[in-house]
Every structure is written in C-alpha cells, then in structure tokens.
Symmetry: C2
Subunit: 573 residues, 2 copies
C-alpha cells in the first residue's frame, strides 16, 4: 500500500490523474480514446478539467485502433481502459502499435492498491488473487511500464513512460489504481517541460559513419533512395525530405513508406516492392549500384513476398538505432544526425533518373461503357487523380492496402495502413482516430478504403465518428467476402464468404442526422466518375459512406503475387 | 523443425488437423467458432470433412464469447483464430472462460515451424523474430498448452489438451503450424475413446470426509443448501439435484448459480446474495445453523458487495478440488463423490422450511395505466412468468444480470451471465453460441437481455445469428447508456452516455429476410404484456429483436446495493 505524501510538503499539490493528463496535453494529445469502467470512472472526471476531450468508443479494440490512427496523424495518443476486461480487449491493437512503431499511451484503471494487497475476489479478476497477470501480458508489447502504486514515484514514472513512448515510438502501459487517482503530488514539476528529445549521436562516431556513407555515395554511378516506415515512425521526415530534395536522387518508397515523401517531386519514382513494384521501378532499383534504404522493414507483405533483388553489398541502411553500410554495422548511431550531415556535406552526386509515375490508367482499363464494372487496375490510379493535397488515406489489409501501391499521392498526404501487423478491422478504428486528429488540426480530409469483410469486425466505430461529428469519406469495397484470403487459399471456400450487409444503411442506424451525412452506392466506373466529380462530395462537408462494388475475384497485381508467395511459405516443408 | 513420421509405419494414417477435429467431434463439438486467416485456412478445410460446421464469426472477440456461450450449453467448444492478430483479439474472452470455468479449446493457426525456426519477418509478427510472445500471453489464462510442432507427440498433446479442458473446465491453447496441418499421424488411436472422466476421490479419504459432513448435518437443527457456479461448471448438477430432492432441505442459489437447480421444487427458496438476496432469503440463510455451499465463488458481484453474513463455523463448502468443513480443509477430495455418498447415507434430517418465491409482482409495481413505463421491479418477475421450461436465458453485465435475481425460473432453464469476469458485450456473442447449441440439440428457446451500452460493443454478432439461421429472442434494454456505471460513479457524466442507435433496424441491415425475422419496440408495460401474450412471438419461430425502453435512472435493488459497495471499495484509503 502506498504511503501518502503530506500535502503540506507540496508547493502546488496536484492529483496524480491530473498530472498524468496534463502531461499528455503537453505532448499534443487532445482527444482521449477509450471505454469507461468502474475502475477508471473517477479518473475520467479529470479529462475535461485539463482541456482534453473524451471520445467514448464503442469498444476497447476499436478504441485501440483509433488511438493508433490518431497517433499516426498527431504524433502520440492515449487510450483509457478498465482492468482485465477492458485492457485485454485491445491487446491486439497495442501489439499492432508495438509491431509498427506507433506511440500509444495505454492507461488502465485498476482496483485500489488496498484491494490488490488483500487479494480481494473482485469482478474483472481471474478469481485467483493475481492482479499482475494482465500487466504481464502487456509487458512484451510495451516499451515501458509505469505502475502508479505510490505517489512518491508517480510523476517520475509518468514522465518516463511518456518520454519512452515518444522516443521509441511504441506503446507504453500505465496502471492507475482507484485509490491513487486523487493522491496529491508535486505540481511544480509540470513547470519543467517533459523531455522528449532524441538523444544526439556521439559526434565522433557520427562523423565517422557519415564519412563512410559519403565515400560510397560519391563512388556510386546511379544511386537511389528507398524510404520506408521507420523514417515516418521515428520522425525523420524532415531529414529525409532535405536529402531527397537537395540530392535529386531517384527516390522510391516501400509500401509501408507510402506518404513519407512528397510524391510530386520530379525525382519521386514510385513504389519499390520487388516483383510487386510499380511499373519500371524494380528495373531501376535493382540495377542501381547503391541503394540507400531509410527506415526499412523487409517484411513479407512489404516486399511482395520477399522478392527484393537488392544486394546488401550495394546497400546502406539508415535506422533509428543503428546504421549499416554493406555488412558493417554501426550500433548506437541513429539516422537523424547522419541524414542531416550527409545532406549538408554530400556535394554533387551522379544522378541517373528513374521512372516517373503519373496515375495514368492503362489503355486496357480505360473502358467506360455503360455498367462497366470497377476494377482494381482502374480504381487506384483514378483515386490518385482524385486525392487532394494533405488528405489522410487509410487502407485496410486486403485488396485496398495492395491497391494503394498504384496510387500516386498529391503533396502532404498521410497514408495509414498495417502492412506488417495486418489486423483486419483496424482501418475503421484508425479512421475514427485519424479523422479526429484531422478535425483538431485543421481541415484535412480523411478517406478510408476498407473491405467488406474487414469492415464487419469493427463497423460500430462509424457510430463514434458520428458521435464526435467527424467527416470522413468511407469507401467499403463490396466484393462478397475475403478476396485476399481467396487468393491465398480457398478461392471458393465458404469460410471466405461473409454475411452480406446493407452497409450504407448503418449510417442511419447509428443515429446520423440525414442532413449531416450522406450515403452512396457505386457499382460501375461511370458512377464512380460522377462521384469523384461531385463537388459537394469532394468537399467532405460531413460523414459520407460509399458502397463500392467490385468483382469478387478481382485483385491488384501486387496482392496476387504476395498471396501466392504467402501460400508457398505456409506450405513449405 | 519437425521430423516426419514415415507414412508406411502407420496403420491408418490421418492428418494432424483431421485428428484434432475428430477428437473435438467426439467430445460433442458440432459448431466451430472463429475467423479465418491465412495461417489457418488449410486447417479449416477439415471442418466439413469430419462433420463439423464452421460458424464464421464477424470478429474474434465475438467468436470467443460465442464459444463460451456454446460451451456453457453443450459442455465444451472450439474456436479457431489466426496467429497474433486473431488470437490476441479474443484474449479477453478466453480470460473470461478461465475466470468462470468454461471449457473452450482455442486453436491458433501459426506460421510454419520452418518459418518460425528461421525467424522470418512475417505479417502478424512483432517484427522481432519472436514467435513465442503470443503463446506466453495465453499461458496464464489456459489450463493446458499444446504446441503441435512435431507429428510424433501431436496426438498425445491434443488428447491431453482436450482432456484438461473438459476436466478442469477451463480454456486450453493449441497451436497448429501451417506445415503440421497435413502431417500424417496414427489414426488407430482414435479407436480408443478419449478419457475425459473425473478422477475418483481416494476412497478412504472420501469416506472420512463424508463422515464429518454427516456428523454436522445430523446435528444441525435447520440446515440449508446454497448452490453456486462451480456446481454447474464442474458438472455436479446430477449429484446436487439428488441431494436437494432427496433431502428436502431449503435450497438457495447464489447469482452465479442461477439455473443450477430446479427452481420449481417446493424446497427452492430463491437467490442468496447477502443484502441483495430475494425477499426473506437472507433472514432464512443467515439464521441457519449449518450452510452447505456447493461450488461457491464469493466474489463482490456474486455477494452484492461482500455482504454474506454466514459464519465459516456453520459452513461446509463443497468444491471441485477440495472440501472444507468449518475451518478444516480436505484437499484432493472433489464434491462429486462426497455429494453422492452424503445423499445415500444421510437418512432423515431436521428440516425447517424457507421462503417460497413465486414471481409475484409487488403491489406498488402492478400499475398498468396507459403509457406506464417499464421498471425493473416490474419486469423481472414478469419475465419469470413468461419463461418456459428449458429456456436458455442470457443476461449481460448491467441492470440485466442483477435484475434476473428476481426472476424465478421454470424447470430446466439454463442461465448464462458473467457475474465474476463481467466483460460487457459478452452476452451478444454468448447468445450466438448458445442459440447454435440450442439449434443442435433440439428446440430450446434462447433469450437474451442486454443493455444498450453493452450491445454496442459486439452488435455485429447478430449478423452471425442470421447467417446461421438461429432464432434467439433479443431484448435490448434501451436506457440511454451505462446505467450500472452511473450508479457507481458519474450519474450524469457524459462518459456514461452512448450514441443512440436505431437498434432494431440492425436486423435488416445485417441481411435478415423480413419474412424470417421480426423486430419490435416496447415502451410501456402494456406493450410488453401484449408481446408476452403474442403466441407467434412466444413460439420463437425465427430471430426476434425487441427494443425494450426503460428509464435511465431505474435499476434493480441488488444493483444499487452492489454499485454502492463497489464505489466504496474503489475509494477506500
Ligand atoms: C483480426 C484479423 N483476423 C483475421 C485476419 C485474416 N485476414 C486477413 S485479410 C482477411 C480478409 C479481408 O477481407 P476484406 O476486408 O473483404 O478484403 P478484400 O476482400 O478487399 O481482400 C482476413 C480474414 C486478419 N488479418 N486479422
Ligand atoms: C469490456 C468491458 N468494458 C467496460 C466495462 C465497464 N462496464 C461495466 S458495465 C458497463 C455499462 C453497461 O451499460 P449497459 O449495457 O447499457 O447496461 P445498463 O444500462 O443496463 O446498466 C460498463 C461500461 C466492462 N465491464 N467490460
Ligand atoms: Mg472483401
Ligand atoms: Mg444501458
């Protein structure tokens, strides 16, 4: 049991919960996701008090996904759950954040330290007096833990957790027992801003690595850059952009790096993913004598089934905690400082241009005759023509997150997708979080592409979007079930079918005002064209929901290749 | 990596997946719950092959809840998920099964043993090559683990897991790597039925304990029986019924024991839960000089906030792994054998009758004037009058699972509720599982009472009910949000509000045939009366969905008491 701090000893006494939420406010959190429960109710009272806004999700998994989406747009997020039942419901979302480097502060309201000490037989326990089980389950998917069992170290633990969350860009886990919420601690600490800066590289070591990088860079005849997820997640995009713009090197993105660079730059060349690359990209990248990868994650789906054909002997890898030049590793040197110095010092490089993607639709796909069905080959470049600068685009695991490889973005687009973790249903929650972040920061459009199968996992979060007056444009790809799975195994298996819903009618069921929302059904290319040209639709004045019908067995090329590779890996003996 | 068994060495070669599903069929599983994923697709092909039926849930958490509901009706259940994303999504449901002693076989399709050995950077991993993390998270909430990494011990591990699941009545965790699914093992083993019998008590020890029990029983002037959850979960209901009927002792149930005994017996006395007991019950129980508790779980919500007033000095506790007489414990003696012998040997006992509950509605609640609102005090006894023998009744954490304490059941009713674990949303999934079990076994009605707040967590599983042509009667209690939470803290706090849905319209949105489903809206007592008297409604010919409006601040008495106690426990310093 915690011993109290004598309030008279404190200069500006502040309650533990208030301290926590004020720190979250300080690092940029405004909307707090989660679901109430009796072990967190008193803590929730502090949220409006410190200028935060309670979102109130339908369930915890969706809240976790929403927190992930919010963090990817705003930089960090917070989600509050209740002990046991609440926290376990979103472990999948937290694991996704861990896997994909998303900074989510997960706060769990727990039974009081007294009840825990006494091993009371409380609701939401396993009935065995063990109050540590759930925290242990979160440990492997959190980069820091803070159990606020004592006012004496609560502030320190909170600051540490938020710092680690930000710097490591991964989830942290904080428990707040009911009897700690209102315990007084020193508020003076809040006057010193929380330190969330990246530690700089050791100068000599950094200079050494920069020298090595420059040596290879200057010797290279046709170097290229590939930007990937960790450049985004470890907040190195400014550094990356300076390098890309100043060097003029042909620059590509891996699928998980979509949105990392300005795709309207003349030296932007498209998506590299081995055999799943954009037209002309694999040829250009694989014939290069030096590939700079920045924040690379070479996972199966990010490489169209491990089909990279780039030799490590002609590769320099920039990472957040180490650098690698060919086979030489330099631990403890992060990409940030190296990128900055390389850009400053590089001088003139040899440049051989690469392909220039342009969202043009292949001849074979241009047909617009009456009732002509919407295909993936047609859709995704067309979406690229339709998108606007600064849009937020979320694509779900399935045909959508492979299709988007063929979409060239306008400037400033943020792309959300779980290419590594790949939990379906994610995108609907993430859309809620992203749309809230968009609302907080200005007037970015939030656009979701989600498969009908995935949508059914988490559909109710459309209700939370309505509740919070968010204005996403939601496209549900209606193709009669799990098309991506069909391509892996069981093309006609009934387990890949789903119950068909009247998807768009959910908007009304969830209580949207018909004057402040609109739904559409689109079954042919021409209808899609009309919608893309509808100014009211494009201005995203309120929540819009589009049923987008596509053939059951149609899929983007990259998906077909990746699915085939996955089936082989699964079956390999 | 697993070494192969030479098929020529096998008398009746059978694939690992087929062996597993045949064993599940043998112990009574017919419907298999879950969600496909590429790591389990090939395994799913075996399900129809062995005469099982794939349910195809909307998401994994709901599948887990459904498996829980199915197991509570059919005795055991199985749920199949995919690695990482799938399995983590239902940890909450599995933890619920662990907490409340529900036998669920959780089968996870994992990457191949080869991919795991090579630490491949696959989708659904944390990206760190660690393939054990998720299994470790399940370990604390599973009573056995079976990692089928080798054909040589696969059959043994499967048999062991299913046996432990049944006997301990708790979830088990089985991993099935993609490259193991089709590995050949000895099918001859299937000819020997799997042993799921309870080990008998050591005879001498059992006789000794029986002697002690009888000594106190014979000496007692007015003994009573309280039956609780573990009598149900550890399959001791036959033994309990013999004791109850043959002895004629006044018999009560704890809330978690609702449905354990035939409530139409003359010696059934109602629900005992301390200060939350049915009228007259606390007085009778607490004045007894000997209380036999059978399968007792004295958790906060099961005792209306720890308000039992029964001395351990006048108590005999029957448990599945031990007996306790006053303060003397007898480990290793299970209730089953003891109950049988006590019943056989008890002879004549002193009997003082107890109260006789009868679903009568208190005078003050009988008003039926036009538009008279439905209150909890009126509803629950009225439900008792309406229920039929053998109904399955599911109540959600909230006003419903406290209200049901005031409902006296007809014979043969099975009651499902998570009084200890208390995860909201549970009941909707559980209703799907229970309704499927009902369909498989005959013509029992499945009736759900769920709060509007809880319903929103898992609403899409109504779609799965429709898909599987199930015929539950679903009552959604529409009371503008989290009433139970309001009573704990924040009566008017906005975090206890929810987005209002047009709940009943979901049935159409989820694709129900209007001729094979029906929805209702009930706002006044008289409307409820009419519905209860509607023969078509009562015959449950298809899925029916009722919006049942009740006042926001109305709650059953027992809930008010328990909520107050919880708020105190949470705040205690
Ligand atoms: C939580 C979770 N459960 C199961 C899976 C396995 N899975 C991957 S994709 C997919 C089907 C997606 O279908 P849909 O959203 O309709 O996509 P599309 O038809 O566009 O391919 C499934 C079931 C998963 N990735 N995550
Ligand atoms: C998964 C989960 N999340 C949160 C909670 C906390 N909780 C318990 S009851 C409840 C509200 C239930 O509201 P409702 O279903 O409307 O019931 P009623 O209004 O009838 O009391 C909440 C949020 C929980 N028990 N489980
Ligand atoms: Mg689909
Ligand atoms: Mg309610």
């Amino acid at each position: 049991m915690a011993t109290d701090i004598r309030t008279s000893e404190l200069k500006s006494p502040i309650d533990v919960a208030e301290y926590l939420f004020r720190r979250l406010h300080e690092v940029g959190v405004r909307g707090v996701h989660g679901v109430p429960g009796d072990y967190n109710l008193v803590a929730l009272d502090y949220i409006p008090k410190v200028g935060l806004n309670w979102v109130g999700n339908c369930n915890e998994l969706n809240a976790g996904y929403a927190a992930d989406g919010y963090a990817r747009v705003k930089g960090i997020s917070a989600v509050v759950t209740t002990f046991g039942v609440g926290e376990l419901s979103l472990l999948n979302a937290i694991a996704g954040g861990y896997s994909e480097y998303v900074p989510i502060v997960h706060i769990v309201g727990t039974p009081s330290t007294l009840s825990q000490r006494d091993g009371m037989l409380l609701h939401h326990t396993l009935g065995n007096g063990n109050f540590e089980v759930f925290a242990n389950m979160s440990q492997n998917i959190s980069c820091a833990m803070a159990k606020l069992n004592d006012p004496h170290d609560a502030a320190m633990l909170i600051d540490n957790a938020i710092r680690e969350c930000w710097v490591q860009s991964r989830p942290v886990y904080i428990t707040l027992p009911t009897d700690m919420v209102q315990k007084k601690i020193e508020g003076e600490k809040l006057k010193i801003p929380i330190d969330i800066s990246f530690p700089p590289n050791p100068a000599e070591k950094e200079d050494y690595v920069v020298g090595v990088v420059l040596k290879y860079l200057h010797a290279a005849k046709n170097p290229v850059i590939i930007v990937d997820a960790c450049a985004i997640r470890h907040r190195a995009l400014d550094e990356v952009h300076e390098l890309v713009e100043k060097s003029g090197l042909p620059t590509f993105v891996a699928p998980m790096g979509k949105g990392a660079v300005n795709e309207t730059l003349p030296n932007y060349g498209g998506v590299y993913a081995g055999s799943g690359s954009n037209a002309g990209v694999a040829e250009r990248v694989e014939s290069s004598d030096l590939v700079l990868t920045i924040g690379s994650i070479k996972s199966d789906f990010n490489t169209a089934g491990f089909t990279y054909r780039v030799s490590q002997l002609s590769t320099i890898d920039f990472h957040s905690t180490y650098m690698r030049v060919r086979y030489s590793e330099y631990p403890g040197v992060s990409m940030h400082g190296v990128l900055r110095k390389v850009t400053t010092r590089m001088g003139k490089l040899n440049i051989q241009a690469g392909p220039a993607p342009d969202n043009s639709i292949a001849k074979k796909d241009q047909g617009m005759s009456q009732g002509e069905l919407i295909t993936h080959d047609w859709l995704w470049p067309r979406v690229g023509q339709w998108l606007q600068p600064d849009d937020i685009v979320i694509t779900e695991t399935g045909t959508a997150n492979f299709g988007i490889w063929e979409t060239k973005f306008p400037k400033g687009v943020t792309a959300l997708s779980q290419v590594l973790w790949g939990s379906i249903g994610y995108s609907v929650g993430a859309c809620q979080g992203a749309a809230l972040a968009a609302k907080e920061t200005g007037s970015r459009r939030t656009i979701l592409f989600v498969g009908d199968g995935s949508f059914e996992l988490t559909a109710q979060e459309v209700s939370t979007m309505i509740r919070n007056d968010l204005k996403p444009i939601i496209f549900v790809i209606c193709n009669e079930g799990y098309t991506i799975e069909r391509y892996i195994h069981g093309m006609d298996a009934s387990y890949n079918d789903i119950q068909q819903w009247k998807y768009k009618d959910l908007v009304g069921v969830f209580g949207a005002d018909p004057k402040r929302s609109k739904t559409y059904q689109v079954k042919a290319k021409q209808e899609m064209e009309d919608l893309f040209k509808d100014e009211n639709f494009c201005s995203a004045p309120y929540l819009q929901f589009v049923e987008l019908y596509m053939p059951k067995e149609d899929a983007p090329k990259a998906l077909k290749l990746t699915a085939e590779a996955s089936a082989k890996t699964n079956a390999k003996e």
